[in-house]
Subunit: 228 residues, 2 copies
């Protein structure tokens, strides 16, 4: 069974790739260079695609700086670094990129249909990132309907299924799952900043570090600093 | 009221731009260079955007040849030229590009949300192109749900509305509408081939020529040949 995996190179999508392999899929990875400031994650995506033994890995290029609207694509906007973990879950943050997951899932759908694949895997998570509208299950269901009605494959046979295995999991549970699957954490990248080492203070770093700490584990990734 | 217009440079999307203006919208056009063989249409999109007086026009670049799967992105596949108009409506043709409208509408959504626009206009048509799964109204409704659930704007206020004024119109009706709105047909481009003049024999040329002929009008666009 062929599956397309949306692979950012982060902790979540890397775990999803390893889950798809464990599910018995032949994996085809897709990543996006949208001129995000943390394009460093693409190096990780390439490493993880290789470690994970994918059949093929495409990086799709386009420029989401064209119209701006997000701290992740506009160097003029400061990345948030002082919000509590609780605050992260409550509001839509300035790191939200308009319609980003919709764009990603559209390309994944095109790739999957061209491959005649059965599944698209995505590492969205509704708990840690509940501020993001396009990480919730009602959104994923709406996108599934687009997958069904918007393709030849969905109209004439069985629709490509969207699999989001992490959607209801806590970050600690994702790390436990990844550990059981053998995900090489040192090859992943979660930091929103584009440095050599992970910054340790952006929302994404702090969520990750806090989860490793809660499990009594050490994150093998090098950080500039680790918030206590 | 701001609106994003999906503008290919063809007869349908050009009419839609003029309709959006007639509806009182401030228009922002978006076009796509996806390495389609008929990239000639982008010149038309630029001309029409100018004639139509848009506030801004973005051309988004990406490469849909990466995974192939369509005669429009693969020069090795012959364009169909011998199908009857009836056959065109019945089957999904090899000019179908997997998930193309979903990709286009995803970028339009991103642009619209960044602009704080209220509407996205798209010139899909369910009659002449009923073979295409992503030109039908049930698909547009599914995409509308994605617009509602997948954005900050849709979750917190009123969703960006998808307007598809041509969806139930015949090609002859679209031409009549365009005539009443003053669309400069000579600046538009419908041909799937990438020549200097429109080929006159591909599906898209024949649909267009037949409609002008049915109305007793002459299409001002230069053609290599006009099928009688």
């Amino acid at each position: 069974m062929k599956a397309v995996i949306l692979l950012s190179g982060g902790l979540d999508s890397s775990t999803v790739l390893y889950q798809a392999k464990a599910d018995g899929c032949e994996c085809y990875a897709i990543s996006f260079d949208y001129q995000q400031r943390h394009r460093r994650e693409l190096d990780s995506a390439k490493k993880i695609a290789e470690s994970g033994g994918v059949a093929e890995h495409h990086v799709v290029n386009f420029d989401l700086r064209l119209w701006g609207g997000s701290a992740l694509t506009d160097n003029q906007i400061d990345l948030p670094s002082d919000r509590s973990l609780a605050e992260m879950s409550e509001n839509i943050p300035i790191t939200y990129v308009p319609a980003r997951n919709t764009i990603f899932m559209s390309f994944a759908l095109a790739y999957a249909e061209a491959l005649n694949a059965s599944r698209v895997y995505i590492g969205v998570n509704a708990l840690d990132y509940s501020g993001y509208p396009d990480c919730r299950s009602d959104y994923i269901q709406a996108m599934q309907e687009v997958y069904r009605l918007g393709t030849k494959q969905g109209r004439q046979g069985e629709a490509i299924a969207i699999i989001s295995p992490l959607i209801e999991m806590k970050k600690t549970e994702i790390i436990q799952l990844g550990n059981s699957l053998g995900v090489p954490w040192e090859e992943t990248w979660s930091c929103y900043a584009g440095g050599e080492k992970a910054c340790g203070v952006c929302d994404s770093c702090r969520l990750r570090l806090a989860a490793f700490q809660d499990l009594g584990l050490s994150d093998p990734l090098p950080y500039v600093q680790r918030m206590g």
